[in-house]
Symmetry: C2
Subunit: 210 residues, 2 copies
Amino acid sequence: MTAPMDSAHVFVVDDDGAIREALSSLFRSMGFDVRSFSTAMEFMAHDLPDLPSCLVLDIRLPLISGLEFQSQLARQNIHIPIIFMTGHGDIPMSVRAMKAGAVDFLTKPFRDQDMLDAVASAISFDRSRRLDEKSLLSLRERYSTLSPREQEVMAHVTSGLLNKQIAGKMSLSEITIKIHRGHAMKKMQARSLADLVTMARSLGLSHNGP
Amino acid sequence: MTAPMDSAHVFVVDDDGAIREALSSLFRSMGFDVRSFSTAMEFMAHDLPDLPSCLVLDIRLPLISGLEFQSQLARQNIHIPIIFMTGHGDIPMSVRAMKAGAVDFLTKPFRDQDMLDAVASAISFDRSRRLDEKSLLSLRERYSTLSPREQEVMAHVTSGLLNKQIAGKMSLSEITIKIHRGHAMKKMQARSLADLVTMARSLGLSHNGP
DNA sequence: TGTCGGCCTATACCTTGGTATAGGGTTCCC
DNA sequence: GGGAACCCTATACCAAGGTATAGGCCGACA
């Protein structure tokens, strides 16, 4: 709602200086913050900002191919959305890139508008991914402050067991369960059981098996 | 768990009889139930089984292109996963297909194993999609038996409000809320509040705003 | 050694949830 | 008119949840 067009970053990696120039000025004219590099190494040496961003990548790079670089980023859990460009690519390349999650795969020469559309979609995707990740992170942080017993009780509570049943399962008294449960609610900053259940699902604490 | 390789269906659409033959025998040898067609129309005239299945589609078809057919299926809410084949396709085609959700996009000639891998992945995808859809459908069916008031109460309950607060919001007495709530639990076959919350989320009944 | 945090328990008390029973009302349809 | 479904309310009672107060046990750590 109240999210303006906070400065978004576009990273360009292409060994052709003319293309870097052209893309940089194109993106800058649209209000993006642009950084361009001629190799993947250079890009990796640069610190990624904590802002919505995307990577515009030529598939043919010095030393390492764009596809390899893509999977390298994935292995390092770097989730920046990627838009590929190619002058001489083939279909298997594009399919592999798209399967690996690329946002788009443009063949040179492309229309400026196509590139801008791809970047806009990538940025918007990254923005919402970042929001999701941020809230999940804060959730995990809160969860990590629970003692082992509290985590255990939380799992049982959110799977729908009564305090009495949990007490039986853990061979504890019901009052102890109530205490742990209360602590879990406070630490997780849950305002209701419904809240806690939702949090547990986001954390992957669902033991819904027969 | 107890899901054996229930008969899965592979549909082949290609105007080249030789290819239809070759693929049919390939898939049949792997235990799939195969139906082949030379046009999209023929395929559409065939009833789709309520079983995991996928569609192996040549991108160049008589009358209608494979890509058009793909979006036509999407418009009709037919979600069968698609594997494209092409002899003379280009990159933009493959990218468009993949963006629209195709499982794979193979260039002829392809290795049998590549096609089998794609089909296996498509079938497994469709199987889990069908399971999800089935449970969502049964959920919606149960939800539709709730009276308007019961639905309203369910939404409030699963958003974490106390009976008392719901009563205030709806200008009703607390006991009435309890009644509706109890009915909702019974009709939804929820065994606990946690259950109901989960169901509400699956149904998209989340009013989590500040 | 002391102390701090996690853990377990108990009593007491209050709030909330859940259901049965028993009414009252409406609308729609046979 | 009578039934059926929905809707609302009330009393009464019991089960479950939640918290405060208080105490004991243990291991880690300064």
